[in-house]
């Protein structure tokens, strides 16, 4: 979270808001937000409704918590990128920021139909992440 906070202005400059969601209530989330100096909203999904809606409920733990995941959502509310930690597609803040910058440069949401764009930055990121994901599976192992 602190990593994200450090890059908040960069995300904003690239045209993206930033929010984080957990099942924590305000009494738990707010002190952490203040302690870490986080300047973006920490959303409190205490009912787990949103976590469930996004298919991310880890019901095996502590009454249900969220599986870590990141989404980039555009102004038409279309998912442009997602990373799920459970399936080894972790994404760093720097990678996310670069992606958002690319989307911001290329995006013309008013005129472009959905899903039409192939963004060089996204392709690069995908290739990089595939290499990261599959590259570790050496045939020698």
């Amino acid at each position: 979270m602190a990593d994200y906070s450090a890059h908040l202005e960069d995300f904003r400059a690239a045209g993206a808001q930033l929010v984080a969601i957990s099942v924590n209530d305000a009494a738990r989330a707010e002190p952490v937000r203040q302690e870490l100096g986080i300047k973006f909203p920490l959303l409190c999904d205490t009912s787990r409704a949103v976590v469930k809606k996004y298919g991310l409920l880890n019901s095996g733990e502590k009454g249900g918590i969220a599986f870590p995941a990141s989404f980039v959502i555009d102004r038409d509310r279309v998912v442009r990128f997602r990373a799920l930690e459970q399936v080894a597609s972790r994404v760093t803040v720097d990678q996310l920021l670069e992606l958002v910058r690319e989307l911001g440069r290329g995006a013309e949401p008013k005129t472009k139909p959905r899903n039409s764009g192939v963004f060089p930055g996204l392709m690069f990121l995908r290739a990089t992440m595939n290499a990261m994901r599959h590259g570790v599976r050496s045939p020698n192992k």
């Binding site: 924590n24 880890n58 555009d74 899903n115």
Partner: protein, 46 residues
């Protein structure tokens, strides 16, 4: 986790409205209105 339920690239992200830790209601539709929103789900329960 049922991966099929998780919105994929190209899917419409489910709308939500949640209070943040300071009590302010945040709607996804408002968050994306300026361009994009990065939504990070984290485990919580520090």
């Amino acid at each position: 986790m049922d991966e099929r339920q998780i919105p994929s690239v190209g899917d419409e992200a489910p709308e939500f409205s949640l209070a943040d830790s300071t009590g302010v209601a945040r709607r996804l539709d408002d968050l994306v209105a300026g361009g994009m929103c990065v939504v990070v789900f984290y485990r919580g329960h520090w």
